[in-house]
Structures are given as structure tokens and as C-alpha cells.
């Protein structure tokens, strides 16, 4: 089935919304669907978008205060008492501050607690490096039992939140602060563990997760002008990876690019490098943060600065294609 995209995707007035807003709607919907869903927040209820749930179900919302270790461990206890707890804070603090508690009391203890890390990536902007969480994907994806999801837009985030609530598994949900253009439709599919081919092409596979998927769609448009036919695959579930979809695409194109608003080491790019290394060794370019921290700046400015916009990625990709052609001694 072809994945249908929003029509005016590259227009200036494309509809954009923070991905976290979709989480807010999804959590309320999950709360309506299942009364076992509870929500806990560490003093960031509005900005992590838990306020909709709090208003609808005040008795099922627990304010924890600025205490991220307690946030996830109280949630573990609530799960033991039969609840499906969603915990939220900024990703820099949760899972940044409380990794061991997540490991022991959620993953090893196998409790269906959802760690929601909002404000992930450099696009957090002026707050600077302390608040721009870049290591969360790496931290969460090494944990057994943990599912890791970075939705590509707010519409998908809403679906992902509800799917996680229904899954009964520990999960990490990665959200971004700034508005991200919406590429998916209400009727677009979302299933945990599935990757989606958004655009078919034969020359190169562009694998995106979270906010970077939209940028890759822009990249593919740009590449088309230069005669490069790129396939764009959206990978919202970083763990478990949809190996079949990814391997099918890269086997066809023979070249791979990953893009994420996170450290490429250990992050999404790391996950893809592991997959290719074992199952399909191919030239790989990883776009993302390269073993460095971010800094203060306007969100757009920072994406540009770190080479994470569609056109910047297109330049990197063209260079990469040139290199791989040289190595192959073709054309």
C-alpha cells in the first residue's frame, strides 16, 4: 500500500504543529479508552502537554515535582498496582537523570511504564546544550524490554501514544518542542515496529526518524533536481526495527543515509549501522549530531548550523553519492 502524504508538503503554508501536541491529544484519548491509564509529571505539565489529560482525569494525574528518579519509580509502583502509567518531563531529565531506575524498576521489572521525553533534540533552541537531549535514543535502545518510538509529526504522535498505551510494554516516546510540518494523514497507518516507505526511489535510501523525516522529504525533492531518485523511509519505531522494510529498500538502492536529531553514535544511525553491518553491508552516511553538544540559538538557525535541514542534508547526500561512485569506479 502506498503511503499517502499531505498534499502541499513543500508549500510555505504547510500545516505544522509541535509533535508533543499530538501526544497530549493521544494521551487523553488513551485515558478515555482505558481507565487504567494514569499520568505522572515532574513539574512540566503544560509544556509536556499532559494538561489535557489532567483536566479530563484529575484523579488519575499525579504531580511528582522536580524529582525525575521518583517520577519513574512511583510509576513502576503504580504499574504494579495494575495501572498503565505515562511519565513526562524533558528528555534531558527523563531519561537523562534516571536511567538506572528505568533499567531496574521498569525494564528488568517488566512494567508497562511509558517514559515520555519531550523537548528532545537541538531544535529546543535558546535553552542551550543542557536542555537539548541528544543521547536519549542511545540510552533507551540498549535496554532489554524497551520499545523506542520517535514519531515524525503530531498526527502520528497521537496514534503512537494510543498504540503504546494498548501495548502493555515499557516504552520510550521521544517528542520535540518546536512545530514540525505534518506529512501524515489521519488515515495514515501507524503500528509499533513498522517502518513506512513515504516515497519510492531507486538511487539511495533515506531513513528518517522523528523530526528528520520531514526534512528528508525535502531532501528528496532537492535531489530530484539533481537527477537523484531517492527513496524515503520513515522509521518511527527505532526499537524494534522493521528490518524487513529497511533491508528491502536498501537492497534495491545500494546506498543508505540516516537522519536524526540526536547523537549518531549509539542513536538511530548507530542502530542502522548495526543492522547493515550484520545483514547487508552497504555505504552508509549518518546525519545527526556528531559526538558534540548543541548550543543556544533559534531552532531553525541551529538545524541549519548542524546540517540538519532538508537542503543541507541534500548537499551532504550528493557529496556522499560522489564519494561512493568514486570508490565503485563507476561513471
Amino acid at each position: 500500500m502506498t503511503y499517502q502524504l499531505v498534499e502541499n508538503l513543500f508549500a510555505k503554508d504547510v500545516v505544522a504543529e509541535p509533535i508533543r501536541a499530538g501526544f497530549g491529544r493521544g494521551l487523553k484519548a488513551a485515558g478515555e479508552a482505558d481507565e487504567r491509564v494514569v499520568a505522572l509529571c515532574a513539574d512540566l505539565t503544560d509544556s509536556t502537554q499532559m494538561s489535557k489529560f489532567k483536566e479530563a482525569f484529575p484523579e488519575r494525574f499525579v504531580e511528582i515535582g522536580v524529582a525525575e528518579q521518583n517520577l519513574v519509580t512511583v510509576a513502576s509502583g503504580m504499574a504494579r498496582a495494575g495501572k498503565i502509567p505515562f511519565t513526562s518531563s524533558y528528555a534531558a531529565f527523563s531519561p537523562g537523570r534516571n536511567w538506572e531506575q528505568i533499567r531496574t524498576t521498569i525494564c528488568l521489572n517488566d512494567q508497562p511504564v511509558v517514559v515520555v521525553g519531550s523537548h528532545a533534540g537541538v531544535s529546543v533552541g535558546p535553552d542551550g546544550a543542557t536542555h537539548q537531549m541528544l543521547e536519549d535514543i542511545a540510552l533507551m535502545r540498549v535496554l532489554p524490554n524497551m520499545v523506542v518510538i520517535a514519531p515524525g509529526d503530531s498526527v502520528e504522535a497521537e496514534k503512537a501514544t494510543q498504540a503504546i498505551a494498548a501495548s502493555g510494554k515499557p516504552a520510550y516516546l521521544r517528542l520535540a518542542r518546536e512545530k514540525t510540518p505534518i506529512f501524515s494523514l489521519e488515515k495514515s497507518p501507524f503500528e509499533i515496529g513498522k517502518a513506512y516507505v513515504l516515497r519510492t526511489g531507486k538511487d539511495i535510501t533515506l531513513l528518517g526518524t522523528g523530526t528528520m523525516t520531514y526534512q528528508l522529504l525535502v531532501t528528496a525533492e532537492e535531489l530530484k533536481k539533481h537527477g537523484v531518485d531517492a527513496e524515503v523511509v520513515h522509521v518511527p519505531t527505532i526499537k524494534p526495527l522493521d528490518e524487513a522494510t529497511i533491508l528491502k529498500s536498501v537492497t534495491k538502492t545500494g546506498r543508505v543515509v540516516t537522519a536524526e536529531e540526536a547523537q549518531i553514535n549509539g542513536g538511530f544511525g548507530g542502530a542502522i549501522a548495526e543492522l547493515l553491518g550484520e545483514k547487508k553491508p552497504l555505504p552508509l552516511l549518518r546525519i545527526g549530531m556528531k559526538d558534540r553538544f548543541g548550543e543556544s540559538g533559534a531552532p531553525d538557525e541551529l538545524l541549519e548550523h548542524f546540517g540538519l535541514t532538508g537542503s543541507k542534508i541534500a548537499s551532504s547526500v550528493r557529496e556522499f553519492i560522489g564519494d561512493t561512485k568514486q570508490k565503485r569506479g563507476k561513471k
Binding site: V38, E59, R60, V62, I64, G65, A67, Q69, N70, T73, V74, A75, S76, G77, M78, A79, R80, A81, G82, K83, P85, E100, Q101, T104, T105, L108, N109, D110
Partner: protein, 285 residues
Amino acid sequence: MTQLTIKQLEHRAYVLREDVIRMLERAGSGHSAGPLGLADIFATLYFDVMKYDPKNPLWGDRDYFFLSNGHCVPIQYAAMAEAGFFPKEELMTLRKLGSRLQGHPERTKLPGLENTSGPLGSGLSQAAGVAQVLQYIDKQPHRFVYVVTGDGELDEGNIWEAAMFAGKYKLSQLIVFVDRNNIQIDGTTDQVMPLEDLRGKWESFGWHVQEIDGHNVESIRDAASMARAIKNQPSVIIAHTIPGKGVDFMEYDYHWHGAPPNSQQAKEALHKLRTLDGKITGEHQ
């Protein structure tokens, strides 16, 4: 469950201590001092205070028990086996490959455990999460959540986050025993990180505080009873205990915090326990 007399509970504690010595000797590693010091508290909790059904560990009306200092789990395993959660022979598999009795407790492996712990400071929060649900969401005031924490464990920041949380929400179904044995791995708690004024700390976080002799089963039982009666506050019972209690060469010595007895030491320890340190004689001599 028939009510045990004070004498029977005291005896039960000594049986649990013997199991702990045998388990640790067989395992060849593990913690001796803490579990021995906690025997009276576990005997009283499992055979007098708590409601549970060993044949139906998920019984919907059970009390919850959270061991926050997971390294003391041998005494919990001994109590659970004695209570009928699993056969006593299984105690000898402690820390062995394939055993349900992991070196530190794992909920998913052994029915009857409510949590997975070992890294310190998180069990109290998990118990507080359950207490929150019982008090505010599921509204089951007849159920209680019991916790045992170490005193060295109180160095952890996570503990005080939980203490503040339970105080704010007045989690009156939450009842915590602090094993105040004054030792931790690097030395006495005073040397490593002084905890006093411990009573004052808990009180200032909004808790009802009792201090008891943690080897007096009557005091333990009464303190638990008082804690259940306290409304509008979570309860902490600071139980003063002797690390290694019952085995004289282990008592008060922090070097036994993380060490098991060898076979000679185990033999001697079992003799001390069975004779109540020479006060009685029996067929085993």
C-alpha cells in the same frame, strides 16, 4: 492463618536465620549481616502482620511488600519458603544459574515478589506508587503497603524524593521499616554518612515516626498495628537492630555486611542459632 504466639514468632525468626546461613554458605556469596538482623521483622511481617495467600500470590486483597534494599533478600526468600510460596529445598538454589532466587530479587522470576530491587533507593518510591493507587484511585483502604529499607540506603536521594512525595499525599497505607543497624559497606553509617537526626528528618517530611527494638517481635507487631491506625500520614518505624543478630561473631561487625560464611563458620553459626548461644542444648550436639 492461625495467630502465632510471641514465643512462636521468636522461634520462627531463628528458623529463618538458620535458613539464611545455609543458603549463604551454599551460595558462596551474598550478604550475611543485614538478613540476620532483619529476621525478627520478617518473621513478624510474614507470620503475623501481612495479609497474603501463598497459593494465590496475586490475590486481589493482599497487602503489598516491597524490599527496597534488595541485597537483604535471603531473609525474604526464607520467609516466603516458610510461608509456602515455594518449597524450602529451593532455598538452596540461591544465586545459582537457572534459579528463581536471584542474588537480588527479580519480580518476573518469582511469584510473590512485588518488585525488582538491588540498586538502592527505589523500592520506597515503588511502594509509594502502589499506596497512591490504593488510597486515591482504587480506594481500597483495607490494604497496606509494607516496605523494608536499609539505613545506609537512606544516603540515596531517591529515598527523600519518595519521602517528600508520600508526605505530600499523606499516604497513610504506606508503612516503612528502616533497618537501623548502623552499618554499611565502607563502615558504620556515622563514618560513611551520618543520618541523625533520623527521626527529625522523617518527621519534617510529614511522616509519623516510631522507634522500636527491631528484635522484639511484640514491639514490631504493635508498631505495625499503630502504623495502620495512623490516618493522614505515612508511617516509618525506625527499627534498631543488631547486624548479624544471633551469630555472635557476626554481630556489630560491618565486615559481614557483604560476606557469606564458609562451611566452618556456617557450622558454628548454626550451632549458635540452634542453642540460642549455648543457652539450650539439643539432639544436634
